[in-house]
């Protein structure tokens, strides 16, 4: 469904994404993992056609993102890092606008707005002005926008930022219900989220792919012989720090989440 090959994105002299290649099958849920500035958002922006790649190609549903952007955009629902909502509009008007942008058939728009509002749990705030809503609600309005038209591919950039723990759980449930029918890529640095929702984990660090495997595969590879259950997320912290910190846990670099790493070692 999504094929990325040798993708490189350079901003002047800074390399944001460096020779990234991976393939996502239809119906898979992929967790994008990496420290801040690892290139997660950049990769997602390239995949959605917002910015071009410096070199390499990205294909979604068989269409090249750069050559046939409209075909790709028609099939992708995208929640950017900052929810793209208009402060002066109500969520209902906003979703109607997005339905127009996505050219959804007009008669079904009302029902579709109700459907996504229910999925994102914003039914109660549909007629309030977005500018007065809390960060969590704005985030969910953005999420509702991504779900409009039931696109085959969903690309969610940190969908749970700004949500309270209960809402995070709701989004997690939502992601689970979407899995199978939709191909999902979601980025996060909340590890428990990855452990609970994603089938595969893609770890990038400084723009490079460090590992891409199923959770079981990661466990077998990096914690051989360890018995873990998916409810226990400490194992993921350990794997994460192994992959992202050069030389394992000893060499702490300033970008690395040292607290998570030390918590992991402390726990074991």
């Amino acid at each position: 469904m999504i094929e990325v090959s040798h993708l490189t994105k350079r901003y002047r002299d800074r390399v944001a994404v460096d020779d990234l290649s991976f393939t996502v099958q239809k119906g898979e849920v992929i967790g994008f993992l990496g420290p801040n500035g690892a290139g997660k958002s950049t990769t997602m922006r390239v995949l959605t056609g917002f910015i071009p790649a410096t070199s390499g190609t990205a294909k979604v549903a068989g269409f090249d993102v750069f050559e046939e952007p409209l075909e790709v955009k028609r099939r992708v629902g995208y929640l950017p890092e900052y929810p793209p909502v208009y402060a002066d509009m109500t969520p209902r008007a906003y979703l109607a606008f997005c339905a127009g942008l996505k050219k959804l058939p007009r008669p079904g728009v009302k029902a579709e707005i109700d459907r996504v509002a229910q999925l994102a749990r914003i039914e109660d705030v549909l007629d309030r002005v977005t500018g007065n809503l809390s960060k969590g609600f704005r985030q969910r309005v953005g999420l509702a926008q991504a779900l409009l038209g039931d696109p085959e591919v969903l690309i969610l950039d940190e969908p749970t930022v700004g949500l309270d723990p209960l809402q995070i759980r709701e989004v997690r449930e939502l992601v689970k219900t979407l899995a199978g029918k939709h191909t999902l890529i979601l980025s996060t640095h909340i590890l428990s989220e990855v452990a609970m929702t994603c089938q595969k984990v893609l770890v990038i660090h400084e723009g490079k792919l460090v590992d891409f495997d199923t959770l079981d595969g990661l466990i077998a590879k990096h914690l051989p012989g360890r018995r873990v259950t998916l409810d226990d997320i400490a194992f993921l912290e350990e794997i994460y720090s192994k992959l992202v910190l050069p030389g394992g846990l000893q060499a702490a670099s300033p970008v690395a989440p040292t607290s998570a790493a030390s918590a992991a070692t402390g726990g074991r």
């Binding site: 922006r45 071009p52 995208y78 900052y82 793209p84 339905a99 127009g100 942008l101």
Partner: protein, 264 residues
């Protein structure tokens, strides 16, 4: 084109739920009213001074439309030039600042649909603004009678005048839209388009002092000079072409500027 209509509708929604459009309308109505009463007063003074003397024949040739309405329209031109940058400033710049530009660019719409939608909404607002001004000749026709009992106002001249003002407004909005697409700051967008449009409006002063090719160039470039024929009741191809070229250029450059984001 469905995308363009959705964008136009949203822009109009924003225009009429935020104060900008209303402020622009109020400024337009206020100053147009000032100029209107001023011109009517000047006309009245002139007539009362002329009447006792031999002016009877002159009075019959005096044209209410030319003296009052055309003068009003010429003054309104300046306010279109001044208000347009404030109406166009946030069209694209605000989308970039609020990061909603990412939504537009990742939706299945072509860059030109974005440009067309935004420009359409801008034109509607401009048309409303000019319709406010059109109220003054209507008021005049309600209270004045022609020398031979006909209408005191020449509606053809009023019509061409309004068309001229609309073309001027369309040009200003196209320039403003392009400038807005180049920056993330609405203030910068407003100031830059104001400078460009005012410069085009007043460049005709070089025609007064200069001579030869410089004079022709200044007159040819000036947006106020091209309005004159419309105000006198004439539609000249060169004037229509002047305004429409700016519209076409502005829209094309905006389209390129937005498409350019996909490349860099």
């Amino acid at each position: 084109m469905r995308g363009a209509l959705a964008i136009a509708k949203k822009e109009l929604n924003v225009y009429f739920t935020t104060p900008i459009a209303y402020v622009a309308f109020m400024v337009m109505a206020f100053f147009a009213a000032q100029f209107f009463t001023g011109s009517v007063e000047a006309y009245r003074n002139f007539v009362t001074r002329m009447s006792p003397y031999e002016g009877q024949q002159m009075l019959e040739q005096l044209n209410l439309t030319d003296v009052v309405v055309s003068r009003l329209f010429a003054s309104v031109g300046v306010f279109i030039v001044i208000s347009a940058p404030f109406l166009s400033m946030r069209l694209v710049a605000e989308e970039k600042r609020a990061r909603t530009f990412e939504l537009l660019m990742t939706s299945p719409v072509r860059p030109f649909e974005i440009v067309a939608g935004k420009y359409l909404a801008a034109l509607v607002v401009m048309a409303v603004s000019i319709a406010i001004v059109a109220a003054f000749p209507v008021i005049l026709s309600l209270f004045a009678r022609g020398a031979k009992g006909g209408s005191a106002v020449e509606w053809q001249t009023v019509g061409t005048g309004l068309l001229g003002l609309f073309l001027l407004g369309a040009m200003c909005m196209a320039v403003g839209l392009f400038v807005s697409s180049l920056t993330e700051s609405v203030i910068v967008a407003a100031l830059v388009s104001l400078i460009v449009l005012l410069a085009l409006w007043v460049v005709t002063i070089f025609a007064v002092a200069g001579e030869g090719p410089l004079r022709d160039l200044a007159r040819g470039m000036s947006s106020s000079e091209h309005l004159m024929a419309f105000l006198q009741g004439r539609i000249e191809l060169k004037d229509v072409v002047y305004y429409l070229s700016f519209v076409a250029l502005g829209l094309w450059l905006t389209d390129r500027a937005i498409e350019g984001h996909r490349w860099a």
